[in-house]
Amino acid sequence: MPSAPLLQLDRLSTHYVSAQGTRIVRAVDEVSLSLNAGETLGIVGESGSGKSTLALTLLRVLPPAARIVGGRMLLDGEDLVQKSDVEMREIRGKKIAMILQDPMASLNPLFTIGNQVAEPIQVHEGARRKTAWERARALLKAVRIQSPEARVKQYPHEMSGGMRQRIVGAIGISCEPRLLIADEPTTSLDLTIQAQYLNLLRELQREHGLALIFITHNLGIVAKMCDQLAVMYAGRVVESGPVSRIFNAPTHPYTEALLNSIPRMSDPDQRLTAIDGQPPNLAALPPGCAFAPRCLQAVPRCREAAPPPFVPEEGRTARCWLAEPSVAPADQRVASGAI
């Protein structure tokens, strides 16, 4: 096969189960996605949509209450769900790396920068300390840290927020992973520093042929950085496909509403389309489509049965009855009343 995707998720589900086993939260529910090497996927969702649990699932670093209850995740054709913990430890940091939101919390304040950047190289590649430190200096240079010779001997508190985030990025790429997952990597950074950082990530991606996953609530980051987009709502991917096609013609009403709710610099007089209501409680989801109670285009069927992922066009999916190939005519749609 010429181009098997690097990562393929097939109906992956992760649930949180309460101690008595009575309450189940479907944080990630039948998620299917694929990503090619060198491509960037944006996973967008609000708090509680399951996007961060999905990232933890990919790395298999879930909290004790969470279980992968079904599905497969193939990285280079190997199913990570079936890997033992020992095997996963070899993959984490080596083949899949992650950048977390808060660079203050992802660096250990008691170790020097050099130690922390060199550690994965020593662990995964069995490199000697001296070689690992040499690589660390090269990596710091690659992430545009000035005078890396001096910086490797310093501690995290001696760096600014933007520098720390770049160091976390250097640790992420230290073992040349195939896939880099960035969970809200720039939310704690200022605008001009965010622009620097996003450009840096894009250059690193180009140089190393990295596949990138951006987990974010910010559609602007998706518009700027991503090729593919997956919109999550209440644990499910409600829409996925190429970024520009989704932005030009969203299929799912939730995606459409999200795109219309953002203020635009070009049109300050527009009235923002607010999405009424609140994101649902994952432990008590409504029957049918989870977005139906907030959806302006909901039909009675939406409240009865959850829509499967339809394929409105090649390369796109949408979990919405309106995207069903033989879609209901407009007159059957009823305006949603409050539930």
Binding site: M163, L191, N218, A223, A257, I262, P263, M265, Q270, P279
Partner: protein
């Protein structure tokens, strides 16, 4: 007459270099800025961390005393106000903060939270308080029975509505909005921004709007002031400033804003380095070490804010264009 006017105000803090004393420095958090907010209008302040936005908000709220300059409220110098005048000023200016999880007392019922400013500032009967709370809840789109509930029973967006209701309790003239939507979910932000705009139209409120999200500031504001290291580098009517920024910093800032659409490809100006410390700001124009268009003279004298087109810019690039060095504050057109 502007509702509130700041003329060359400054706030300096003294800072110790380390826990054992050592050399002392002065943090020039706000270093001589002038602005005005008209009744019923919004002034947006944008800038990165450490530029002095929040200190400016505190100065307006009267939570900090300015180290220099004059603040005027409805034409009266704040320093000349007596105790009663000062109380009246404080009642006219209220605030809504970023985190609605931290700004509401978890042990108080919503009714008590909203009524607190009333009870502490005015002589009101229990019935009047109840009626006013119901009215305020209605104003922000919450049901009347919310008054009997506790903050944990509400979502982030609803909590922010409660915080807005509390800010409205004393019928203020100006509300300081410090990142009012950045802690909220994307689908909820538009609800709150729309509510704030509706309230402004209905009650004739003025806002001082501080946020990182440039598109939200441009959406909400009539005037925008861009701050860098304690100084206003550019100010002007919101739309023209957002469309055609003049100061190289404003240009870079707006070019770094994230696009709305993947096809929206614009030229990006990536600034080198980071914002320097306000303890020892660069000489001359404070932006010159990062400025892509810096000239030899920029490091010497700080440029004055001068009228350029419809706004004001503090940059030597515009020196030859027009020279109006009158230090008049910016005002909404």
């Amino acid at each position: 007459m502007a509702l509130i006017e700041a003329i060359d105000i400054a706030k300096h803090f003294s800072a110790r270099r380390n826990a054992f004393g050592g050399e002392r420095g002065v943090v020039r958090a706000v270093d001589g800025i002038s602005f005005a907010i008209e009744q019923g209008q919004t002034l947006g302040i944008v800038g990165e961390s450490g530029c002095g936005k929040t200190t400016t908000a505190k100065l307006v709220l009267g939570l900090e005393e300015p180290s220099g300059g004059t603040m005027r409220f409805e034409g009266r110098d704040l320093r000349t106000l007596d105790g009663a005048g000062r109380r009246e000023y404080r009642k006219s200016i209220q605030a809504v903060f970023q985190d609605p999880y931290a700004s509401l007392n978890p042990r108080m019922r919503i009714g008590a939270i909203i009524a607190e400013p009333l009870v502490t500032n005015e002589k009101v009967t229990a019935d009047e308080v109840r009626a006013r709370v119901a009215e305020l809840l209605d104003l922000v789109g919450l049901p009347a029975h919310a008054a009997d509930l506790f903050p944990h029973e509400f979502s982030g967006g609803q909590r922010q509505r409660i915080a807005i209701a509390r800010a409205l309790a004393l019928s203020p003239k100006l509300i300081v909005l410090d990142e009012p939507v950045s802690a909220l979910d994307v689908s909820i932000r538009a609800q709150i921004l729309n509510l704030l705009r509706d309230l402004q139209a209905r009650l004739g409120l003025s806002y001082l709007f501080i946020a990182h999200d440039l598109a939200a500031v441009a959406h909400m504001s009539h005037m925008i002031a861009v701050m860098y290291l304690g100084k206003i580098v550019e100010s002007g009517e919101a739309r023209s400033l957002a469309r055609a920024p003049k100061h190289p910093y404003t240009e870079a800032l707006f070019s770094a804003a994230l696009p709305n659409h993947p096809d929206d490809r614009r030229e990006e100006i990536i600034l080198p380095g980071e914002v320097p410390s306000p303890i020892n700001p660069p000489s001359g124009c404070r932006f010159h070490p990062r400025c892509p268009r810096a000239m030899p003279g920029c490091a010497e004298q700080p440029p004055a804010l001068q009228v350029v087109g419809s706004g004001r810019v503090a940059c030597y690039l515009y020196d030859s264009v027009e020279t109006d060095r009158a230090a008049a504050p910016i005002a909404a057109g």
